[in-house]
C-alpha cells in the first residue's frame, strides 16, 4: 500500500533560474501529479500600456525578461510598425536579424550552462558561460549594454554597426565556433552526461502536436516547424532549414540546441555578407490604430505579440504569448510518471523563462 505525499518544489531551488512553484504529489519516489503555481514575478507589465505612451513602452517590453530581451523589444516595435504601415530600411532589418541570432546564441549557451550545473558538472557550466561572455562583450561593444540593449525604436534602430565592427564580430565568432565544438563533444559524447540525458522525458510527435508546444522542445520530437521560415526581417533572404531530432528526450533537445548554435553562427555570417548600406531608421509620426499579431522565433520557441491600438498615444492591449507559457502544460504531463530525481532535468529541458510566463 503506497502512501501519497506532497513535496513542494521551488520557488527557491538551486536548479531553477527563476521562481516557480510546483507541488509534486508522490507515491514513494514516483511522481503521480504536479500542481503548478505561478505569480512570483508577476509585475503586471501588460497593464502598463494604459500609463506609458506607445513610444516609451519599448523600454518596458524589453524588460519583460533578461534573456529574451532584444526580441521582446524588437517584436513590439515590429507589431506597431505593421499597424502604422512603416516600411523599415533594409539595413535595419539585417541589423535586427544579426542581433536576434546573437541573442539566440547567448540564450542557448546560458541554457547549456544551467543544464550542466543541474547535473553537477560545474566545470562545463563555467566553460559554457565563458564562451557566452564573449557574446556579451559583442553586445556591449555594439549597443552599450550586456543584456538590455535599448537599441530598438519604432521606425528602426537607434544605433548602427559599421562594417568594421561586423567583420570583427565574424572573426570572434570563428574563435567561438572552435570552442563550441569542444564543449559540444562533452555534452553529446560523454557517457556520464548521456546517462543523465538519454531516455529522460520522452515526448512523442503526437503528444507534441496535441499539447501545442513550441521551439526546440517541439523540434526535438521530429516536427519541423520554425517561425523564422515566415520570412520576417531579413530571414527571407537567408538560407536555413529547421533543425530537428527524432528521439524526443532530453538528449535530443540538447542536440537541437547545440546545432542551432552552429546554425546561428552560419546565419550571422550570411547576414554580414549580404547586409546593404543605408540608413537604420525612418521618422514616424502620428498614432497607431488597428491590431496585429506578430510572430517571431524566440530562442525558446514561437512567441506571439498581439498589439491593439485605438488611435491615441496609449495602446489598448499588448499581449505576449511566450513559448514557455505554451510548454508548461506539456512539461507537467511529462512529469507524471517520472522519478523524483528526474524533476530538475525535466524542468530545465523546456528552457523555462518564468519572467516570460508571468510578465
Amino acid at each position: 500500500m503506497s502512501t501519497r505525499s506532497v513535496v513542494p518544489f521551488g520557488p527557491h531551488h538551486p536548479v531553477l533560474p527563476e521562481p516557480i512553484h510546483l507541488d509534486l504529489v508522490l507515491e514513494d519516489e514516483k511522481v503521480v501529479d504536479v500542481v503548478p503555481s505561478i505569480g512570483f514575478i508577476h509585475r503586471g507589465l501588460e497593464k502598463l500600456v494604459e500609463k506609458k505612451d506607445f513610444n516609451e513602452f519599448v523600454y518596458i517590453a524589453e524588460r519583460m525578461c533578461g534573456i529574451c530581451s532584444f526580441m521582446h523589444g524588437m517584436s513590439y516595435c515590429e507589431a506597431v510598425e505593421h499597424i502604422m504601415g512603416v516600411e523599415l530600411p533594409p539595413r535595419a532589418k539585417y541589423l535586427r536579424t544579426i542581433w536576434s541570432e546573437l541573442s539566440r546564441m547567448h540564450s542557448h549557451l546560458l541554457w547549456l550552462g544551467l543544464l550542466a550545473d543541474a547535473f553537477g558538472f560545474e566545470s562545463l557550466f563555467m566553460q559554457s558561460w565563458r564562451i557566452r561572455e564573449k557574446i556579451l562583450d559583442m553586445f556591449e561593444a555594439s549597443t552599450g549594454g550586456r543584456l538590455i540593449f535599448s537599441v530598438n525604436k519604432i521606425g528602426g534602430q537607434r544605433k548602427d554597426m559599421d562594417n568594421a565592427m561586423l567583420h570583427g564580430f565574424v572573426e570572434t565568432l570563428g574563435g567561438i565556433e572552435t570552442e563550441l565544438r569542444e564543449i559540444a563533444s562533452t555534452f553529446l559524447g560523454n557517457s556520464a552526461v548521456n546517462s543523465r540525458l538519454q531516455g529522460v522525458g520522452r515526448m512523442t510527435k503526437e503528444q507534441a502536436q496535441l499539447y501545442g508546444v513550441a521551439g526546440p522542445f517541439l523540434r526535438a520530437s521530429g516536427v519541423a516547424r520554425d517561425t523564422r521560415e515566415l520570412g520576417y526581417d531579413a530571414y527571407g533572404d537567408l538560407d536555413f532549414e529547421p533543425i530537428t531530432a527524432d528521439a524526443g528526450d532530453c538528449y535530443a533537445r540538447t542536440q537541437v540546441r547545440i546545432r542551432e548554435l552552429f546554425q546561428s553562427i552560419d546565419l550571422i555570417r550570411q547576414a554580414v555578407a549580404k547586409i546593404p548600406e543605408g540608413g537604420v531608421a525612418v521618422p514616424v509620426r502620428g498614432f497607431p490604430k488597428g491590431e496585429y499579431m506578430m510572430r517571431v522565433e524566440q530562442p525558446r520557441g514561437e512567441a506571439i505579440y498581439y498589439v491593439k491600438a485605438n488611435g491615441t498615444k496609449f495602446l489598448d492591449r499588448f499581449r505576449v504569448r511566450t513559448p514557455t507559457f505554451a510548454n508548461v502544460p506539456a512539461m507537467i504531463e511529462l512529469m507524471k510518471g517520472c522519478q523524483l530525481t528526474e524533476i530538475p532535468m525535466l524542468v530545465l529541458t523546456i528552457d523555462p523563462c518564468v519572467s516570460c510566463i508571468e510578465r
Binding site: I60, R130, A141, R158
Partner: protein, 126 residues
C-alpha cells in the same frame, strides 16, 4: 562515447591564466558605447524640460523657477532618450556605472547666475 571528453579543456584551463578579472582591484575597462550614467553640462542647458518629458522612468526633474536640473541616479535606466532629445546637446552618456550605495541618491545641478551687467550708457530707446 567516452568518459574523458573534457580532459583537454581541463588541462588547458589549469595551465592558463584565469578568465576572470580580480575586481575591484583591477577596475573594469568600459567599451566606447557602454551606457553608464548621464552627465549634464549645466552651462549649456536651457532648462527646456524636454529630457524630463522623454524620460520613461521620470528620473529627471527640471525646475525652471529655481534653475535646477535634478536626476535620480537609481531611477535612471540608461536608455539614452534624453541624450537624443536634448536640443542643446548638453546631455551626454558616460561609461562608468553609478556606484552602489546604502540609499537612493539624486544629484541636483543649479544653473549659475550670470554676472550682473554693467549699467548701459549710450543710446536710449524712444
Amino acid at each position: 562515447m567516452s568518459l574523458f571528453t573534457f580532459v583537454k579543456t581541463e588541462f588547458r584551463n589549469l595551465f592558463s591564466k584565469p578568465a576572470t578579472r580580480p575586481y575591484p582591484q583591477q577596475p573594469k575597462q568600459f567599451m566606447e558605447r557602454t551606457r553608464g550614467h548621464i552627465e549634464n553640462d549645466i552651462d549649456l542647458c536651457i532648462l527646456c524640460g524636454l529630457c524630463a518629458r522623454k524620460c520613461p522612468t521620470g528620473a529627471i526633474t527640471v525646475n525652471r523657477a529655481e534653475k535646477t536640473w535634478t536626476i535620480r541616479r537609481f531611477s535612471c535606466v540608461q536608455c539614452g532618450s534624453c541624450v537624443e532629445g536634448c536640443p542643446k546637446k548638453c546631455l551626454s552618456m558616460h561609461q562608468s556605472y553609478t556606484q552602489p550605495g546604502p540609499e537612493k541618491t539624486s544629484e541636483t545641478l543649479r544653473k549659475p547666475q550670470p554676472p550682473a551687467a554693467p549699467a548701459a550708457a549710450g543710446k536710449s530707446v524712444s
